[in-house]
Each structure stands twice: as C-alpha cells, then as structure tokens.
C-alpha cells in the first residue's frame, strides 16, 4: 500500500463533502413529505411546513389503506411490473444482442429502431392496433405495446458491443454455439447493464397511469397510480385556456383532499419501487467483466 499524499486527501475529502451536501439537498423533500404525511391536518393547516410533526398521527395512511380499490390495485401493479419487466428484458436484450453482432442487414434494422425513437403513429392508431391485436381490457395492453424502448435497446446494444470480441472468438473456437455464447458469456457479463435497465423498465411499469385508463375499461384492473390519483388529485394540469365557472365550481367542490393524504399517497406509491434499488445496486459492482476475461 502506498501512502496518500496531502492532495489526494483533499481530493477525497472534497468529493465526500460534495456528495454529502448533495445528498442532504435531495433528501430534504422526502423528509418534508414524511413529516407532512404524519401530521394531523389541523397542524398542517395552522403551521404549514414543519420540521417535526407536532403530533404523529396515522390518519392519512389509514384513509389510504382503507380503500379496497387501493389494496386491489397493488396486486395489478405488482403483476404488471414483474411480468412487464421480464418481457421487456428478454425482448430488449435478445434483439440488442442480435444487433450488436455483425449480421447482414444490421444497419437497416438499426435505422428501423432509431426511426421509431423519433416517429410514432399517435394515440389513436396505436389504440386501434392494440384493439385489433385483442389486448384491450387485458394486462397485456400495459406490457406488450411498450416492451422494447428504442432508447434502451440502443444503449444495451452499445454495451454488448463493448464486450471484447476475443471472448466470442475464443468461445467460437472452443466450439461453443451462438446460443451458448449469448446465454453463458454475454448475459452474465452484462449484469450491471441488465440490472440498470430492469430498474428503468420496472419503474416505468410501476408508474403506469394513462395507459391503464385508456386500455382497461374494467376499473378493477387499474394500477396503483390511477387509484391513488383518485384518492388525491394532486394537481390540475388539465386546466387549459378556459374553464367555465360551472366546471370550476364542480372541481372546487370535489378537490379538497388534505395535503397530508396527498403526501402519504405519494410515499406509499413510491416506497415499494424504491426498495428495488438496493437489490439491483450490488450488480453495479466493479470488476465483473474482468473476472470472466481472466477465467
């Protein structure tokens, strides 16, 4: 071991300081939301933002968990997230792998993918296709039509290309088939990338909102986000240029969910998916690829 010089120490120290400050800055709103969600509505109304609840109450959480629709939606969401992420990963990584190799026509297929990154048919034609492929009112409508994101595909392909060719060549010489190379060499080597993208996909499914409303007429199948937004309409972004006074009065009459419930709902909807991260994080560890090359 070599001794750290003074400049090295300042270097490390300043990085740690910066990261600690950034973390605090990013933790603050969560703290703020947690405090509000555990405060009584009266306290919140009277004191506004508090550093510590005057009195810890569970009212907000109780009113969320009392809703039958909410409990039911957890099941739908977990299913869509797990099944969806699996389908996404399989579809995306297999296509990405094929496109990472020098197969004839590769350039054309790549163009085809990039093109969809920019151009889409829009909501109505997509709806028509989803309808004519029989997915309306099934969970598959939330899984199949978005199972490969062009963006993710392009990046995963880039990672696959980064795998040294010598590896593949060596394996080929050893008599391994393409199947074996993909399953036994490429996939294990790509763990960090696959972990990262399963997180992206899972979060996307977890947050399914409008697709559920659009494609599922049966509201018992709706996902968590839809149900929670019903419990607490947090914002009225839908306001466009003009709202009639009648519409406005009706809206005012119905939109009085206490902010305490709003914050609790956001936390309840977020925490399960947050818990996924630490599990995937360990796959980002260094040196995975090295081990295989040496071996």
């Amino acid at each position: 071991m070599y001794r750290k010089s003074l400049s090295e120490k300042t270097f490390d120290g300043s990085i740690i300081l910066l990261l600690v400050l950034t973390s605090l800055l990013m933790l603050f709103p969560f703290y703020y939301m947690i405090v509000i969600s555990f405060s009584s509505y009266d306290d919140y109304m009277r004191h506004g933002v508090m550093l510590w609840p005057k009195q810890w109450v569970l009212d907000a959480y109780r009113s969320i968990f009392e809703s039958r629709a909410f409990v039911r939606s957890i099941g739908s969401t977990v299913f869509v997230t797990v099944a969806g992420t699996l389908v996404d990963l399989i579809m995306t990584s297999s296509m990405a792998y094929a496109l990472s190799r020098d197969i004839p026509g590769r350039k054309f297929f790549n163009m085809m993918v990039v093109f969809t990154f920019l151009f889409g048919g829009g909501m109505i034609p997509t709806y028509l296709i989803i309808k004519s492929t029989g997915l309306i009112d099934t969970y598959w409508a939330l899984i199949v039509p978005g199972c490969i994101s062009a963006f993710n595909l392009i990046i995963i392909r880039q990672f696959f290309r980064g795998i040294p060719n010598e590896l593949n060549d060596a394996a080929l010489i050893d008599g391994a088939s393409e199947v074996k190379i993909f399953v036994l060499i490429v996939l294990p080597l790509s763990k960090p990338v696959l972990a990262a993208f399963s997180l992206f996909y899972a979060v996307g499914h977890w947050n399914t909102f409008f697709d559920a409303i659009l494609y599922l007429n049966d509201s018992t199948k709706w996902t968590l986000q839809v149900v929670l937004r019903q419990l607490v309409i947090l914002g009225n972004v839908s306001d466009t240029l003009h709202q009639s006074p009648e519409a406005r009065m009706t809206q005012l009459e119905h939109q009085t969910p206490p902010e305490t419930i709003g914050m609790a709902a956001v936390l309840v909807a977020t925490i399960p998916i947050l818990l996924l991260y630490p599990f995937l994080q360990k796959h980002f560890a260094k040196g995975v690829m090295l081990g295989s090359i040496k071996g």
Partner: protein, 539 residues
C-alpha cells in the same frame, strides 16, 4: 433493397389501416349492443325477476356508458349497478374514468369508432360541436317530449346544445345562482368598526385595515386583506358589471363588449394595483394557486376571498377550528359604471349526455336510456330526502347500507360508494328552481349555515342575478379565439397590477386585443346575440 422494404412496409401498414378502420365500422354497426356484451358480470340473477311479456321493457338490453367523472369511481360490479340492472332490466356497463383523463380517452374512443351507447360530456365545447356536425350523435328532438323531467330544462339550455336545429345532448342541471362571488369576514369588519364596503375606495381601506390592524387580535402581523392567485383567480369583481367574463357594457357602436376590456375592469385593475402597492395581498400572488388561497382564507389568515353558496363543508370546518367566532358574508355588489348592481349568474346547466348516432334504428334502447336518465334526474325535494321516500332510498342504496341518516340529514360514506346506484349515473336532479334546493338547509357547520342563509337571501333579491347573453349563443370565435386573447389580456393586467407596466398601457392593450381578432369576436358575438334576441337579463 432498403427502398423495397420500406414500400412493402408501407403497403402492409396501409392495408392493415384500411381493414382496421372498416372492421371497426362493421363491429359497431349492426347492434352496437353486441360489442359491450363480453364480460357481463353476475347480473344473470337479475334477469330472473324480469316478467316475460310483449312489453318492450321486458327485453334485457345491453347499455354502455363512458364518462369522465369528478367523484370517486365505483366498483364496476358493485351492488349499485346490479340494482340498476334489475330495475331497468338492462346489462349496464358504466365505464367511468377520472375527469382529467376523460377528455382524452373520449377523443380516442370517438376517433376509433368505439363510442358506447351514450356518453357524458363536459359541455357544448368545440369537440362536441365537431362530433355533432360529423353525425356522431343521435338527434333527440323527437324523443324529449315523452320524458317529464326533460320538460323542466329551459330553452336556453336546449339552445346551447342545439347544432343545425338538432338537439344532440341532454343538459344536466346546475344552479343559475350561487356562483362563487366575493365573500368577507364580517366579524373582522365589526371588530374594527368598519362598514361593509360599497365602492372600491372603501374596499381598499377595509383591505388595509384587515392587513395592518390585527383583525384576528393575535398580536401578530399575519393577516392579508384578500388573496388572489395566478391567472387573476379571484379577480375581486364586486358585481356583474365588473367581471371579466360578463357582457353588459356597450361601445359607441352599440355593441356589447366582453367585461375584461371595459372601463369597469380598468377601475378594478387600478384597485388591485393600489392594493398590491399597499401590501394587502401576498406579494407572490402571481405564482400562487387557488389551493393556496383557500388554505389561507379558511385558516383565518385573509379577510376577503370568493366562493360559492353553500360552500364546502370541509373548508368551513377548518375555519371553525381556526376561529370559532368567524362570520362569513357575501359582499353585496357595488354599483357598476353601466348602472347595474347585480351578482353574475351561471348558465343553469353543466355537463350533458349524448347518445350514439347509430341508435337511430334501435328505439327501444333509446327509450331505455332516456328512461334511466329521466328517473335519475327526477327531483326529490330536500324534505323528502330520507328513508321514507322509496326513490331516494333506492337511488342511494338503502338506508344503513348506501347511506345513513343523522338528525334528518343523509350522509353518504365513501366506503359505500359502490352500493349506491346513483354513483353510476350521477346526474344532478332537475330542480324547479334554485331556491327549491334549499342549499342552506344542508349546512351543519354553524359558520357555514349562517353564511349560506344570508347568501341565499341576497341571491333571492329580485333583479340580483345577471344572466349573461352569451349563454344563449354559439360562436366559434368566442369558443376558441376569444379565450386565447383573454389569456393575453390577463397577462397584461397582471403586469399592471404588480407595477411592471403602467396603467397608461390600458388603451394600447385594448387596441391590441381588438386588432388581433378581438373585434372579430365582438362582431360575431353581437351578431349572434341579435339573431337569438339575447340581451343581458337581471332576474
């Protein structure tokens, strides 16, 4: 090779596009009921009770509805819908979505030929007019005479939904009175020995006193004269003549002008400018929202706001906790430069139902739908809204189940939403008059009760309610272009209020408005008003 592939793909997609479209048409054409069968829930038990006869009501019909709703969404298989299925001998599928998303899904359903048997719409907006002209909806002119409740709908409401002589929608009831208008903390006035303001000058003095003279007596400088929000929400219009959206003043050519460019509005903006300078409104008001303002007023931190009658129970409960001695009153209107002294009325209806145009060969189904609407829209007077009225009891899912009675007032718990048939077809009942609703009777909170009683009395004064003549007309320019220009005017006025620009810019602002299409709007609106014989009315 690339080119070949591309053209092949195009051909493929085109042909599929065509078949997809035509497939749609066929699917929904013959008996659109078949489309909605699919997953009929455990409604079969209901059919057992249906009496077999030649009566058209004996045939069990599939009926589908799509609507964006403000309230919570009930379980699609709840007891409430089963009760509807039994009572009307139907297999009712109510596809309800949150209101915010309703418009978008509606557009997709309409565009992809998936319109259900009937739909709930927000109003006679450009989308409605477009769909109506395209023949999406069933003309109802020949049907409406048969249903007693529909007789109660006033001509102005029918006029608003009529396109080329055809009635394509059934308007739903909304009060004409009780719009959100300025309200004031009367107890603060009394405490500071002030009179109810009758001019903008007096109003400014009151607002100053509310800000600086510690009206809540807590010894802290923590109150505001009034609160307002982004987009000039709570524009502090003290009477219909001062409102930005009323048409009651005329120009030299005798044309009615939109309120937002009149001298009355100029006077109002000048007041707001002075008030801002005096520091009686939150300095950040251009970034605040109505939610912030409601919180401020109903936690007892502001003296003037605006709200409807009877107001929101939850908010008044907050106020009661913050200050049990609070007294809230509607501010009586000031005399406007046009000589009027009235409160602005509403159109008398909001939201509507339209039926699928393809039902023209299915009169039984049309009748069944209209009967359902008729039944749910039938008025039950407040004194009969209890378990002794069988219709009330049924609509709300039975006492002790769908609703509970406390001290003669019905309470509808969120938990029993799906037990109430009403949750699936939530139509406001058509009341013979606004007074018949007796809104003040429903208030339990003492502050709210006192406020509502006084406010209802004020609104009941003859000549107090101004009826906007634009309610009776349809103008494409007014529906679209005007609101675009209106936003710009609000931006300009906001700049004047916070002192970014001078009041001298007023005339230029008005000229720009007229030049950029505002005059065209005024011409068209006035022409249509003349055709319809519409004038401002004070009821």
């Amino acid at each position: 090779m690339k080119k070949k592939n591309a053209s092949l793909l195009l051909m493929l997609s085109l042909s599929l596009g065509v078949t997809a479209c035509s497939a749609n048409k066929e699917e929904t054409q013959p008996t659109s009921s078949s489309a909605s069968t699919g997953t009929a829930p455990a409604a079969s038990s209901a059919s057992a009770t249906a009496s077999p006869s030649a009566d058209p009501a004996a045939k069990k019909l599939d009926i589908s509805l799509f609507e964006g709703v403000w309230s919570a969404i009930p379980d699609p298989n709840g007891a409430g819908i089963q009760a509807i299925n039994e009572k009307f001998n139907v297999n009712f599928k109510a596809n309800l979505v949150p209101f915010d998303q309703g418009g978008q899904k509606m557009a997709v359903l309409m565009a992809s030929g998936d319109m259900p048997d009937f739909v709930g719409l927000g109003g006679a907006d450009p989308s409605y007019l477009k769909w109506a002209k395209q023949g999406a909806f069933l003309p109802l002119n020949d049907y409406i005479d048969k249903y007693p409740v529909l007789q109660l709908i006033p001509k102005t409401a029918w006029d608003s939904v009529t396109v080329d002589g055809n009635i394509y929608a059934i308007p739903r009831f909304f009060t004409t009175k009780y719009r959100n208008v300025p309200i004031i903390r009367k107890d603060w006035l009394d405490k500071l020995n002030l009179q109810m303001p009758t001019t903008y000058e007096e109003l400014l003095n009151v607002a100053k006193a509310f800000t600086f003279n510690d009206p809540d007596g807590n010894g802290k400088d923590d109150t505001y004269g009034f609160v307002m929000a982004n987009g000039l929400d709570n524009e502090m219009a003290m009477g219909s003549g001062f409102y930005s959206d009323t048409w009651s003043m005329k120009n030299d050519k005798g044309q009615y002008l939109p309120g937002i460019i009149t001298d009355a509005s100029k006077q109002r903006i000048q007041f707001l400018r002075d008030a801002f300078k005096a520091g009686v409104v939150p300095k950040d008001w251009p970034v605040l929202t109505y939610k912030d303002n409601r919180t401020t007023f109903y936690s007892g931190k502001a003296g003037i706001y605006y709200d409807g009658t009877p107001g929101n129970k939850g908010l008044f409960d907050q106020l009661l906790k913050a200050d049990p001695n609070a007294v809230v009153e509607t501010i009586p209107p000031f005399k406007a430069p046009d000589g009027s002294q009235a409160l602005p009325g509403l159109s008398g209806w909001y939201q509507m139902y339209s039926l699928n145009g393809k039902l023209k060969n299915d009169p039984d189904k049309v009748d069944r739908i209209l009967s359902m609407i008729n039944y749910f829209a039938t008025f039950i007077p407040p004194e009969q809204q209890n378990e002794n009225n069988p219709d009330f009891d049924w609509k709300n899912g039975g006492v002790g189940k769908g609703y509970t009675m406390e001290n003669g007032v019905a309470d509808y718990p969120e938990a029993s939403l799906s037990l109430r048939p009403k949750s699936y077809l939530e139509i406001a009942e058509w009341a013979p008059s606004d007074e018949a609703l007796q809104v003040e009777k429903k208030a339990i909170n003492p502050i709210q009760k006192a406020y509502a009683e006084k406010s209802v009395k004020l609104w009941s004064t003859p000549g107090m309610t101004y009826i906007n003549p634009v309610f009776s007309i349809h103008s494409d320019l007014y529906d679209t272009k005007f609101w675009e220009l209106n936003t710009k005017l609000i931006d300009e006025q906001t700049k004047m209020i916070v002192g970014n620009t001078s009041m001298d810019n007023w005339d230029k602002m008005v000229q720009d408005f007229l030049k950029n299409g505002g005059q065209d709007v005024i011409d068209e609106v006035n022409q249509k008003m003349q055709e319809a014989g519409a004038e401002p009315v004070y009821k």
